[in-house]
Amino acid sequence: MITVNALSKRFGKVEAVRSVSFAAPDGRITGLLGPNGAGKSTTLRMLATLLRPDSGDALVDGQSATTAPIEVRRRIGVLSHSSGLYPQLTARENILYFAELHGIDRQQARARVAELAALLEIGEFLDRKTKGFSQGQRLKTALARALVHSPRNLILDEPTNGLDVMAVRNLRALLSRLREQGHCVLFSSHVMQEVALLCDEVVVIAQGRVAASGTVEALRSQAGEATLEDAFVKLIGTAEGLN
């Protein structure tokens, strides 16, 4: 369960995030939709305790990202925008490194990697150095790394960027499975169809503010538009930056 309360962040003169509030409940997939530069990544980075908010707070399972960042980090799995891996380590070693950083003992970590390998279908390249991995292989490895400590909450920043159709389908299936297991999944995207297909809840962000939120259906009726696209354009005020 992630709760965001009036989160604000500015970089110099730019107000990247202005008093953003929303909730991402357990067992649901929540999508953060907005054009490029709307403040999605900044919001997620504050949730991931990478950035400190200027005001407001984010709570993860009741723990504050500002006052208890380490507790928050234990409870979240983060797939960041870049999701870089260590090229000289194998996929398995990459994942085990993070298990160790999370304080999981060796034996448990090995079992967990086997579990994730089956879930993400990464068995065939698990023991290869990640140098030269395809985008899809990198993403799966990074995802396994983010899930290695079995976090209740998963935060993904534009996870489908640069993936081919099959990889996107696989990711979608995986996120649905995590939802069924009761996880809280929060992801950002500027791709409308993706959000419409996958999300239970949508938070529309534009120019650092929440423009609207609710289920896809609710948003559509709120805007009084027949198609999703028209509804989003109306809510955001412009189609710029959306796909």
Binding site: L50, I76, S80, G84, F98, L101, G103, A142
Partner: protein
């Protein structure tokens, strides 16, 4: 603490697989260092030998005009090799490196000699010649001058003058250097090499662990690990330090082995670099690794990319080694302040170890204390840097 160790071990193993890092840490210093050292020493040994009484041949034009002089030169190990060349031809031959020097005796030499008038001889040599022509010319000139003095004294005695009265002053050169100290003078570069190799050995790891991590995009994920951020960077600094120490151990060991092949004794130098000396050299210089690893990590943390870090760090590693280059020129003497200056103090301590002198406890404390203190501060700064948001780039 466990987190620091986790990061340390991962960095250590990962970088062991990186050819570039491995080359810089384990090959550059340990292989090239001793080779350079041995080659330079061998060169200075063999150049030193050239000024000793080693037999040499001397192209002489007009040798027939001064047979006694030729015999005298022969007795000093200088064999005349009669040539028939004009002045222009001599100059050309030297320029073409066919000969390095030549002695010319004018036709009127014998006549002037007989009349007790100054008899001229000409030595042709190229003073810009780096291959010893100039040194050989000095040797020939000295031999001729000595002979001239001998003859003048004989002439004075024949005329009833005590030659001693013509020598109001005498200078005696007394060389108080011992074979060991002469060796260490030439080995001043060993400390330079060892310190440089040490810093260089950790350079790529420092870059990879900071700017490299950010450039690869793995930094964000790492920063979401549930541990204080400074611990992450302490682990990285520890790995850099480990590479520096390994690089230094290997370099010193390789130098110790290489020195066995340099004929230092023949040059009147003695140098023992046995296991104990090597161990001492390592012990006095090891604290500098803390400072070096901290310094390189802090500098690399400010950079945005691997390439940028590389250019800054190349400067950063020359900073601690620069004073060593100027030591000889500036004539820096060990003082408490110098002994508290990192890299300089390690240099002086290493020199003392090589000379076989006893190490003074205050010197050791100043040296290690200052390096560890500054290194500690740098590590702390690196930790602070990783708490800033700007570290994300």
């Amino acid at each position: 603490m466990r987190g620091i160790f986790t990061v340390f071990r991962k960095e250590f193993i990962e970088n062991l697989r990186d050819r570039r890092i491995l080359l810089s840490a384990l090959v550059f210093g340990p292989v090239l260092g001793p080779l350079m050292l041995a080659a330079l020493l061998q060169l200075s040994v063999s150049r030193g030998e050239a000024t000793f009484d080693k037999p040499m041949t001397l192209p002489v034009v007009g040798a027939e005009h001064a047979p006694i002089l030729m015999a005298m030169l022969e007795s000093k190990g200088i064999t005349a090799e009669p040539r028939n060349l004009g002045e222009e031809q001599i100059r050309e031959a030297i320029a073409a490196r066919e000969i390095t020097l030549a002695l010319r005796i004018p036709a009127d030499f014998g006549e002037r000699w007989a009349r007790s008038e100054p008899a001229a001889v000409e030595i042709f040599a190229d003073s810009s010649d780096q291959f010893g022509g100039d040194a050989s010319a000095d040797r020939v000139a000295q031999a001729i001058r000595a002979y001239g003095r001998q003859v003048s004294q004989t002439r004075l005695m024949l005329r009833g003058v005590d030659p001693i009265s013509t020598m109001p002053l005498v200078i005696h050169d007394i060389d108080v250097s011992t074979p060991a100290s002469r060796a260490t003078f030439a080995l001043g570069m060993l400390s330079y090499l060892a310190i440089f190799a040490m810093l260089f050995g950790g350079m790529y790891l420092a870059i990879d662990a900071t700017a490299g991590e950010r450039e690869r995009g793995s930094l964000e994920a790492l920063l979401t690990a549930p541990m204080p951020r400074p611990h992450l960077i302490y682990g990285k600094i520890a790995a850099t330090m480990a590479y520096m120490l390994i690089s230094m151990v290997l370099t010193l060991t390789a130098c110790a082995v290489a020195l066995n092949y340099v004929r230092l004794e023949e040059f009147g130098m003695s140098l023992s670099m046995g296991p104990l000396t090597t161990l001492k050299l390592f012990a006095v210089s090891a604290p500098l690794a803390v400072l070096g690893a901290g310094l390189l990590t802090v500098v690399a943390s400010f950079t945005r990319s691997f390439r940028e870090a590389q250019s800054y760090l190349t400067f950063a590693i020359s900073a601690p080694t620069l004073p060593l280059v100027f030591i000889g020129i500036l004539r820096i003497e060990p003082s408490p302040l110098v002994m508290a200056t990192p890299s300089l103090s390690q240099h002086f301590l290493m020199m003392k170890v090589l000379r076989g002198e006893a190490l003074a406890m205050p010197d050791l404390l100043y040296s290690a204390g200052a390096s560890l203190l500054i290194g500690g501060i740098l590590c702390w700064i690196a930790g602070r840097l990783y708490e800033r948001e700007a570290i994300l780039g």
